[in-house]
Symmetry: C2
Subunit: 79 residues, 2 copies
């Protein structure tokens, strides 16, 4: 089972991207974890270490980070 983590911040763009990705991803081979950095602020540092520069972003288990849709920068999320 592959794993992927979707980091978002609760914004409408994030939620829309989340639904779109959940719709096309193969859930029989990939387990998706959803992290709302607006609520789980203690995960912001973890996200940064993984290479997340903006949200929404999908971190794959090959360490690649797909930043999606020119969303909010982590600096904005830290606010």
């Amino acid at each position: 089972m592959k794993t992927a983590t979707f980091y978002h911040a609760g914004c409408p763009v994030c939620v829309s991207a989340e639904q779109d990705l959940l719709n096309v991803i193969d859930h029989t081979t990939t387990k998706i974890e959803i992290v709302d950095l607006g609520e789980q602020r203690n995960k912001i540092e973890e996200a940064e270490k993984l290479g997340v520069q903006s949200v929404p972003a999908l971190v794959l288990d090959n360490s690649n980070v797909l930043h999606i849709n020119f969303g909010a920068s982590l600096e904005d999320v830290k606010g």
Copy 2:
């Protein structure tokens, strides 16, 4: 069968994102078409009409456009 179109321009970032998406997408429910705008320049206008502002981008059949990884703008691709 859902359809999705992945627009790219042959750059390393594009190719990496393409492989990552192909790896996680459910190919039993979603058919992916790959369009290289560097080679298929006649498709650039179509991409713009669909709302593609930069590549790589994934256009879903609900008309949503997921722009990925802060890639090249279409203005750059037109060059």
